[in-house]
């Protein structure tokens, strides 16, 4: 269960377990977490907890609430977030399940009573300028309402897709250069270097011969996608399986030679 550690100037005052759906914090003694300090408003903030998730909401306090140094109105708390109210700090702990039990922990479970609606309404109990009203759940709350309307055929957009270039380009030139690239050795694009910045990079000529290079935690792999003839790596044709690329492997696809290499 999630908890908060309340401290001032590095001295821990107490630990609060977030067992209630709504935990209030303020200067007045009736709060769940009373903080007797003039910088704290009478009813300063509330923490709403729904099963394993917690949200903090500032109740229009005079001096505001900071989370990780930033003023917030409402914030979805993450493990290790630091809430600051005046000189008081509250550190939020929501231990991620330990690895050994992760499998069980994340198992899909059914909940019979939707608990979402209750806290949604309690959020609105702040004094004066009422927080943006929570829209009343529509009666058909649980029915699919996407912008995809059942059975109203959208106008078929012209499939004016320009023919993709022979070589897919890394889409975002601003993304930090990753650790590998391919250099084209022959053909019209000879000399060009393509950084492998995406998880998937397709190479070749669509409709003729296409392969994909996938970036995985263990390295880069090349797989044949389409075409009767399979690309070759160092002169050996690919099988149907993915093949891991090694530094300076020579790829030949759609009549073009290119070299895979790890950047220094």
């Amino acid at each position: 269960m999630a908890k908060l550690i309340l401290s001032v100037d590095g001295t821990v005052l107490k630990e609060i377990t977030l067992s209630k759906e709504r935990t209030t914090l303020g200067r007045k003694p009736h709060n769940d977490i009373p903080v007797d300090n003039l910088a704290v408003s009478g009813e300063h903030a509330a923490i709403i907890t729904i099963l394993n998730d917690s949200f903090i909401e500032d109740l229009n306090s005079t001096n505001g609430t900071l989370v990780n140094g930033k003023p917030i109105k409402k914030h979805f708390l993450q493990n290790n977030d630091v809430i600051e109210i005046g000189k008081h700090k509250l550190k939020y702990f929501n231990d991620a399940p330990v690895a050994s039990t992760a499998g069980d922990f994340e198992k899909t479970m059914i909940i019979r009573k939707p608990v979402a609606s209750a806290p949604a309404t309690t959020v609105a109990s702040a004094p004066q300028p009422a927080p943006a009203p929570v829209p009343a759940p529509a009666p058909s709350l649980s029915d699919t309402q996407t912008n995809m309307k059942p059975i109203t055929p959208p106008p078929a957009p012209a499939v004016a897709q320009s023919a993709p270039p022979a070589f897919a380009q890394p889409q975002d030139p601003n993304s930090p250069a990753r650790d590998s690239a391919i250099q084209v050795l022959s053909g019209a694009a000879a000399g060009r270097t393509l950084d492998l910045t995406k998880n998937l990079t397709t190479i070749g000529k669509p409709g003729v011969q296409v392969a994909v290079i996938t970036r995985r935690p263990t390295g880069f792999f090349i797989t044949h996608v389409e075409g009767a003839v399979f690309p070759t790596i160092n002169g050996v044709a690919l099988s149907g399986q993915a093949k891991q690329l090694a530094d300076h492997d020579l790829i030949e696809i759609a009549g073009i030679k290119m070299e895979f290499f790890y950047k220094p």
Partner: protein, 274 residues
């Protein structure tokens, strides 16, 4: 026109990197345009019992209630109306069967399953779903989620409590508000949609969409759309590379061409010569 010539279907299911066994189940009957995916839950082996019962009961139930004889003489609207009804009915039947089994066998007590079931016919598709297994559609390189999860998180998003971005880091991802087999009765959410040639539909369990973003799914389907099998493999692999914390199942259905049902005089004449 046989639906097997129209629909290219690829199914792949994988236990993932953490779970010891696979509680997902997939089944398709291409000739009838039926594609079903279920993600079971429950102790011991009850999860896969529930999902297996759901997929086979629905496939078999649709096969027996969605027949040429029943469809004879129906125009498209009537067929669509009927499809909504049979998907709902078959889900109810599967629910009753799983519920009864759970009551009878203590090992299976409390078992249940999510479900997404598609029926393709006459240039439309009828989808019924329960829980957080999803149907997506990719049309003209744009991926859209067709179904909306029956989950606590989705309800929180709908009520404005949590933003879609924050939802990704929620700890409440695994809570569904509806499931097949948990209660004596369940209502599937059933809708029909028009289908165009070139559409690619993706059915998946939450082991896919919890591990990788929709953008990555879309990128994969665009990059590899010429090879549906590889697309499915790549999606499963990406979910596993991202941690594979749950079973992951992927079914891809590519609509190769229009599959309007011929009706009227000529269809009648033709049918004499078949």
């Amino acid at each position: 026109m046989a639906l097997t010539d129209v629909l290219q279907i690829v199914s792949l299911t994988d236990p993932g990197k953490v779970r010891g066994h696979n509680e997902d189940c997939v089944e398709s009957r291409p000739e009838l345009g039926i594609v079903v995916l279920a993600d079971g839950m429950g102790g011991y082996n009850a999860g896969e019992v529930a999902s297996g019962m759901a997929t086979s009961a629905i496939s078999a139930g649709l096969a027996s209630s969605w027949t040429k004889d029943v469809l004879k003489g129906l125009d498209r609207d009537a067929a669509m109306a009927l499809s909504l009804k049979v998907v709902q009915e078959q889900t109810a039947k599967a629910n009753a069967a799983i519920y009864a089994a759970a009551q009878k066998d203590p090992h299976c007590a409390g078992m249940g399953t999510t479900l997404v079931a598609c029926l393709f016919y006459d240039n439309f598709l009828t989808v019924g779903h329960v829980g957080d297994s999803r149907l997506y559609r990719m049309r003209n390189d744009v991926l859209e989620q067709v179904t909306r999860d029956h989950s606590l998180l989705q309800e929180q998003i709908d009520s404005g409590l949590i933003s879609k971005e924050d939802a990704r880091s929620s700890h409440n991802k695994n809570l569904v508000t509806r499931a097949v087999g948990i209660d004596p009765e369940v209502e599937a959410e059933v809708h029909s949609y028009d289908v165009l040639a070139g559409d690619i539909f993706l059915l998946c369990s939450d082991g896919l969409n919890d591990m990788i973003e929709d953008e990555e799914i879309q990128m994969t389907l665009i990059a590899l759309q010429s090879n549906l099998e590889l697309s499915a493999q790549q999606l499963v692999q990406a979910a596993n590379d991202a941690g594979g914390r749950d079973n992951v199942s992927v079914m891809l259905v590519r609509v190769l061409k229009s599959f309007a049902v011929e009706r009227g005089f000529w269809a009648a004449v033709k049918s004499w010569f078949r």
